[in-house]
């Protein structure tokens, strides 16, 4: 199976919060550049722990590390709030002021591509 359609949500984690003021560190990178998904979804995708996955939406694509969390229902993935998740979020708020950070239609697939470190990720916006 090449990939699967999912709903993407984002949110805080304690380690993400502990590193709010040290976002350029390895600790933040490991915590935030990751995608939590149900074990059954990982099996369907042929993805093991720490494999990289590509998450694609209508607004962009990002590479993150897979992590099993069976608390997520099947068909829904969670990426901690931060630069990697936001790489695939729309800037259009539909006049409401608030972007859709949760409930975004996305496609997840296994990839051999590497995760971009935060500074390189920012450089992709500099065109």
């Amino acid at each position: 199976m090449e990939g699967m359609n999912v709903r993407l949500i984002s949110g805080r984690t304690a380690v993400q919060g502990q590193n709010l003021d040290s976002k350029l560190t390895e600790k933040y990178f490991v915590e935030v550049a990751r995608c939590d998904m149900n074990g059954n979804d990982m099996e369907k995708l042929g993805v093991a722990k720490d494999d990289t996955v590509k998450v694609t939406t209508a607004y962009g694509a990002v590479i993150v590390k897979a992590k099993q969390d069976d608390g997520n229902p099947e068909g829904m993935v969670f990426i901690p709030m931060g630069p990697w998740c936001n790489a695939v979020i729309s800037g259009d708020t539909h006049g409401a002021g608030m972007p859709s950070f949760k409930g975004v239609d996305a496609r997840v697939e296994k990839t051999a591509e590497a995760i971009l470190p935060v500074k390189e990720l920012m450089r992709t916006y500099m065109g």
């Binding site: 304690a14 607004y59 997520n72 630069p83 695939v88 409401a96 608030m98 972007p99």
Partner: protein, 434 residues
């Protein structure tokens, strides 16, 4: 070694004010008690921006405060439509100067509520908010509902200090005498603690609030067998818990504001609270993120009449979130310079909005380097409010609390940096007028 008591945490909206730290050689060496893991991490400190700097040929060159402040003033003065964004991780005294700077420049001022509880603010504008202080919650609430929130991770002291686990005057038994309902789309550490976990389908908050309203108003016959993935039996169970409680408190988070109907979700959450008033005492409160995001909303409201997304380009305050909110402004490429203070849009804004931030001159005022620094043309390091600078902040229940200064520093506080930028801009205008 000096023990400092009653330290106030400047991290999240809980603003815990009973922290004890040990200070040695002008450094916090130990957090003895009171702080959660997130607050402790902040108090113990991180690597700082070492010096003011100006970007030249793609690289940041270290410079003096005077040079950086002058350059920042030049950028803002030459700009036709600057965006001044952030303001939630600093004190109200700095925010007040920010409003003055916005008015002086005819700029757009927005704060982090815009990507956090902005929809809650809009809903409160619409229908008001039956709410109370966290002290009242601690002393009275016997039913606590967390909806679309995971305080175990994001507000780690919240349950212990103020809600489910705390012991108060009429809640002396702590959680033994209380019930907790958690509504979320996934299982979390918080849902594991709940007496009742209501797992809803992502994006279905609005109809679930509506169903509970209907039941509380005596119309359970109109509620179908399942709403948003929740069986009717469980909705009846929760409604019953509301009816039997003496004091119900609902806290809600980003699970509601970031999703689908946005502010309409919150309007319905507030109307659910009002329906509960037919049976019991009930209040509701947003779980605010930054320690002073409530404060910047207060300052903006008393200074301009509006809480966020304020456009001063007409010479008076114009409020239309969705048009002048920072993400929208950047997405539409509708600003030609940005000053980012006490926040990090580089990490927390959609990538599509960052493309414009990369094109325009950016001034960053912050104690720490972060993804926004990559876009910054001028970097001005600031003292850490609550550790190196004092000032007033508003807790998530809008109670003002004064942050203390614990350590000495050579870094300038945000308020002074902003005042000096404003003075420079006024001098430039005066010179041009001569």
């Amino acid at each position: 070694m000096v023990e400092v008591t009653d330290v106030v945490c400047s991290l999240c909206g809980c603003v815990c004010d009973d922290i004890v730290v040990e200070v040695e050689n002008n450094e916090i060496v130990k957090v003895k008690r009171g702080a959660c893991s997130v607050g402790k991490s902040k108090l113990l400190g991180h690597e700082r921006i070492k010096s003011p700097a100006i970007r030249e040929n793609g690289e940041l060159r270290e410079c003096s405060y005077d040079e950086a402040i002058k350059k920042a003033a030049e950028i803002l003065y030459k700009s036709r439509r600057p965006l001044l964004y952030g303001w939630s991780s600093t004190v109200c005294e700095a925010d007040k100067v920010g409003v003055e700077l916005t008015e002086d420049l005819g700029a757009v001022m927005d704060n982090t509520a815009s990507v956090c509880h902005g929809p809650s603010v809009l809903a409160i504008n619409d229908v008001g908010l039956p709410s109370c202080t966290l002290g009242e919650v601690k002393n009275r609430a016997d039913l606590v509902i967390y909806w679309g929130a995971n305080p175990s991770q994001a507000h780690a002291n919240h349950m212990k200090r103020y809600s489910y686990v705390s012991k108060g005057y009429w809640t002396a038994e702590g959680k033994k005498g209380k019930k907790m309902v958690v509504v979320d789309v996934r299982k979390t550490m918080t849902t594991k603690m709940a007496d009742v976990f209501v797992q809803i389908k992502q994006g279905y908050d609005y109809p679930v609030f509506s169903a509970l309203r209907a039941i509380l108003r005596g119309h359970e016959d109109v509620v179908p067998d399942e709403v948003g993935g929740v069986p009717k039996e469980q909705l009846l169970e929760v409604a019953n818990m509301v009816k039997e409680s003496k004091f119900m408190m609902t806290f809600f988070g980003m699970g509601v504001t970031h999703t689908g109907a946005r502010h309409n979700n919150i309007v319905n959450a507030i109307q659910f609270t009002r329906a509960a008033h037919l049976h019991t005492k009930a209040n509701i409160m947003p779980l605010r993120g930054h320690y002073n995001v409530a404060g910047i909303n207060q300052v903006c409201t008393w200074e301009t009449g509006f809480p966020f997304a304020i456009d001063m380009s007409r010479g008076y305050a114009w409020y239309n979130p969705g048009e002048q909110s920072a993400t929208d402004l950047l997405y539409r490429a509708d600003c030609d310079a940005a000053m980012i203070i006490a926040s990090d849009p580089g990490a927390h804004f959609p990538g599509e909005s960052l493309k414009h931030l990369a094109k325009i001159p950016v001034i960053q005022i912050d104690p720490y380097a972060n993804p926004t620094t990559e876009f910054a043309d001028v970097v001005i390091p600031a003292a850490v409010s609550g550790i190196e600078a004092e000032g007033n902040v508003y807790r998530m229940d809008n109670i003002p609390i004064r942050l203390r200064k614990i350590l000495d520093t050579d870094y300038l506080p945000d308020e002074e940096i902003l005042e000096r930028i404003l003075t420079e801009i006024r001098a430039m205008r005066e010179k041009e007028g001569e």
